[in-house]
């Protein structure tokens, strides 16, 4: 038995003995290099996200019209906002909008996702995935301008089509009910594609064996979806609903372009009031106060969703 005393053959870079200087450089690189790569993102987040958030919170305690110097007013802005009936109505509108629009958005997205995933051949699936996602990449303002023409009471295509089947002209955008319906319709049409794609992904991740087992146990049709699809899709549903609710709480483009919040305050939303306070009334402090309240509401609802999710989300 012989032992080898010679050092093992040195190969490649491992074989190069590091000098103390190289070792130190390596440690420095190891410590700082990740931060160097992260720095642009951190700087961007700091400048464009965190700083405005902090500035906005601070601004909520000042009266400022852009031109004059800000004046500290304590909680006056919050008090005025709470007493302002327009703000109250706009928050109520937003809540109603979120409930209806998110329910429609998720319901439509889930229904279509199941239909597309199950019933259609592969090439048609690809087509519908693209078709349903397409509205999302369009500018909400452009879509809303286009929709305003479609829903014009006198000259719009929608009323022209209705007139063919004998239905009299509907004042879509000039009555409270009509305008709210159009805003929700346009919003849901434009946004359900995102939830649809999430559900498609979720459905694809459900193992076929689970359905086969369910079939062996006698589950067919909607029972299969009720007892297999929905529970296994619950994590996706949670993500889709959280994102849909956060987005819907911030709705602005569609009501602003379609109805300017009218008639009356019927389609005025919380973000519209923030915009009007800041850029039309030049009350940036009040706008910030409304923004802070809206942020707290969004955070509260999201936290509630995650808390309740423990009861209905099923993780495999």
């Amino acid at each position: 038995m012989s032992t080898t005393t010679s050092a093992p053959a040195r190969t490649g870079r491992q074989a190069v003995r590091k000098s103390p200087h190289d070792a130190k450089r390596g440690r420095v690189q190891q410590r700082w290099l990740p931060w160097a790569f992260l720095a642009p993102t951190i700087a961007g987040m700091g400048i464009f996200t965190l700083l405005p958030i902090v500035a906005s919170i601070a601004l909520a305690f000042f009266r400022w019209d852009i031109i004059s110097a800000p004046t500290f007013v304590g909680f006056d802005n919050f008090a005025e906002v709470v007493q302002d009936p327009t703000v109250r109505v706009s928050f109520l509108n937003t809540i109603v909008f979120v409930v209806v629009a998110v329910a429609l958005q998720l319901g439509l997205a889930l229904g279509l996702a199941i239909m597309v995933q199950e019933k259609l051949p592969a090439w048609l699936r690809v087509f519908f995935r693209s078709a349903f996602f397409f509205p999302l990449i369009l500018s909400a303002a452009s879509v809303s301008i286009f929709m305003r023409y479609l829903f014009n009471e006198q000259f719009g295509v929608v009323n022209w089509l209705l007139s063919i089947v004998g239905i009299p002209a509907v004042p879509w955008l000039t009555t409270p009910g009509g305008s709210a319906a159009v805003v929700i319709l346009v919003y849901v049409w434009q946004n359900f594609g995102f939830s649809f794609l999430l559900f498609i992904g979720g459905l694809a991740s459900i193992p076929v064996e689970t359905y086969e087992a369910a079939s062996i146990d006698g589950a067919t049709g909607w029972r299969k979806h009720w007892y297999v699809t929905l529970p296994l899709l619950s994590p996706t549903t949670l993500v889709a609903s959280v994102m849909a609710i956060i987005n819907a709480l911030q709705v602005f483009d569609q009501p602003y372009v379609l109805t300017r919040g009218g008639p009356g305050d019927s389609t005025r939303t919380a973000v519209m009031v923030i915009f009007e306070s800041a850029f039309q009334r030049l009350e940036f402090g009040q706008a910030s106060a409304i923004g802070v309240i809206l942020t707290l509401i969004i955070m509260g609802i999201t936290a509630l969703q995650f808390r309740l999710s423990k009861r209905f989300v099923f993780y495999q």
């Binding site: 190969t11 490649g12 870079r13 074989a15 019209d65 852009i66 031109i67 004059s68 302002d84 009936p85 327009t86 305003r148 023409y149 014009n152 009471e153 006198q154 000259f155 004042p171 955008l173 000039t174 009555t175 409270p176 109805t259 300017r260 919040g261 009218g262 008639p263 009356g264 305050d265 005025r268 009007e276 850029f279 039309q280 009334r281 030049l282």
Partner: protein, 472 residues
Amino acid sequence: MSGTNGALREFTRRSALTALGAGIVGLTAASWPRLTGTDIPGRGDNSLSIAIMGTAADAAARQKVIDAFAKVHPEIKVKVQAIQAVDWKDFFTKILTMVAAGTPPDVVYVATEGAQLFAEKLAHPLDEYLRRDADHMKEYFADVHPSLVEAFMYKGSLFQLPIDWNAANMYYNTTALRQAGLDRPADDWTHTDFRATLAAMKKANPKDFTPYYWTNRLFGGVVPWLYANDTSFLKETKSGGGEWLWDGFYPNDPSRGLRSGGYQWLEPNADDPRVFESFDYLRGLVKDGLGVRPEEGGGSSLIGLFASNRIGTTPAGGYWVQGLHEAGMTEDGFDVQFFPKWRSQRHQFGTAGYAIMKTAKDKDAAWEWVKFSSSLEAMRIVFPTPNTTPARRSMVNEQLYAGTGPRHWKVFYDTLDRFPTTGPIPAPPQQAAVETALMKNVSLAVSGDERQLKDALNSMQRDLELALRRQP
């Protein structure tokens, strides 16, 4: 061999990283003017920057005026910055954003809607310059109606010189009128005559024809009806002062006694019974299918609809003529008449002109631009077609409307002469909030029953109180 490959790989990666770094640095350097915004016209040099509402094409169209100005003032460099906006409110918002960003323009083209906002917070009064160049400016004021000038007075000082303007007159489709068996309405037609005209038009025209089309906005919406009924949704008063201007430039004007230091709108007036009466009249038109429920927006689709004979009447200013002409309407296809009379025949108008910003780098140079822009030479360059009404009376002539119509183009300037109390758009410094308060309640007010109308006016009164709660 492997060692060689490793070294080569290390060398290549370093080279690539170096090249990438150099590329980033190079790109950053090349795009530095864009990143720092110094490529924005007028920024980073001593040019006089002029902000107008419009597109890049509009800015280019001003080049002829800039060229003419350069001949007179070669020492002043001018750059026009066109800012695209949906309406004046949107434009002012963008200017305010520039102010907040510390990059305000030197001169801004401002319409009546923003005149008091600018006068109160942003603009420099023209008084000292007008006094200094009084001899030169006399020709301008002799050619411009004092009502337009008064609209730019604020607390006794003048902040802008009117360049163009428009009154809310009533356009009518001559084909629709002829089909109804009617002649041109009389100059002093009343609101009841107007309603009868609409009813006759409706009867004689197809089902999809709209006798009266109007949009929900501050100009040409409900306000002309309020003015005709000798009221408004804001209490209108006038401030003192301004004698220096009226005595200096309009001493012999027949309406001298009416002139003031500027309009004031300090309190809401939506609870005035005449406001209710005016809204109720419009509600009646909507209810009987003679007029549409007013739409939000600027009525951009309106010209095409009017030109295709689907609309009978609509309130608009001289700015509509060129649009109708371009939409294919012949000069006999449409005409214009004064707004119908009610308790008065006071009209509503809006005007626009350049305001010098308080922050302007060189106010004297800015004044030279304002003065030149108000000259006949500059205004002839800017207004070759009737796409607005020039503020100078001498320019509103046969030649301007030749080939486009309308036949009674004299109505445009006669509005000011015949009705000297004709007033500007009610636009206090809080105009944006006031406009929102008006617009948001108009549709509700005219679209339901009497109860809904009362509720909408109560809501408007409350909203206006909020809008006006902080007086400057």
